[in-house]
């Protein structure tokens, strides 16, 4: 899911928590104040085409399910627009019967989102902004 609204990690965690699961791993990627630019970041601004991004996010979830068949629930939520300091820009919640699959699949999902989903982050400070220099050529999830 891609949304302009604030993300709720607790809601995603609760959604992923199922009776047959003994493990739920939730990752939150939040806006931080530090940057390779040296500026004090006050907010991030994310850009995308929501249809393209959601198609790619669904492919990440499908790939995770194929790699870890024991996974029960996967939530991948990314925010677009302005995201203030300490607010989550991305939330991944994965549940499975046992912890190893949940940890491994959650890490795969966030790493794959960063590499395969068309999203762009603009770093904003008092008096200026720039596209993030922490960018990589987009990959296909089947190549990861």
């Amino acid at each position: 899911m891609v949304s302009r609204l604030a993300l709720d990690a607790d809601e995603a965690t609760q959604w992923a928590t199922r009776p047959e699961c003994g493990a739920v791993v939730t990752f939150c990627g939040t806006t931080r104040s530090t940057s390779p630019t040296g500026h004090d970041i006050i907010e991030l601004e994310y850009d995308t085409e929501i249809d393209l991004a959601e198609t790619r996010i669904r492919a990440v979830a499908a790939s995770a399910r194929a790699r870890w068949p024991e996974i029960v629930a996967i939530a991948i939520h990314h925010r677009v627009g302005v995201v203030g300091l300490r607010e989550p820009a991305v939330v991944v919640a994965v549940s499975s019967p046992h912890r190893h699959d949940a940890f491994d699949a959650a890490r795969f999902c966030i790493d794959a989102v960063k590499r395969t989903v068309p999203l762009w982050k603009r770093e904003v400070w008092a008096g200026g902004s720039t596209w993030s220099t922490d960018a990589t050529s987009i990959a296909n999830v089947e190549d990861l």
Binding site: D47, A89, K114, V117, L119, W120, A135
Partner: protein, 78 residues
């Protein structure tokens, strides 16, 4: 002519998000886009991936009015 979608830094460099651009192949459409939008866009395009209808494109692929070409600069989500 094909529909061109310019994403993230490509949108900023071109000053437009969506446009219809002449050309009978991916490479012709992109060449016309470079001419239309100028050197800042050309610089972004040089480091971008190009999609044709959501899949990685090759420059020689033929295109028509129903095709959608996306310029996808290096990504920075998460």
């Amino acid at each position: 002519m094909s529909r061109l979608i310019l994403l993230g830094p490509a949108h900023e460099a071109a000053g437009i998000r969506r446009d219809d651009v002449d050309g009978s192949s991916v490479s012709e459409v992109l060449a016309n886009a470079r001419t239309r939008y100028g050197p800042n866009f050309a610089a972004v395009l040089a480091v971008s991936t190009v999609w044709l209808n959501g899949d990685t494109a090759t420059l020689t692929q033929p295109v028509g009015p129903s095709d959608e070409i996306a310029v996808v600069p290096p990504v920075s989500g998460g």
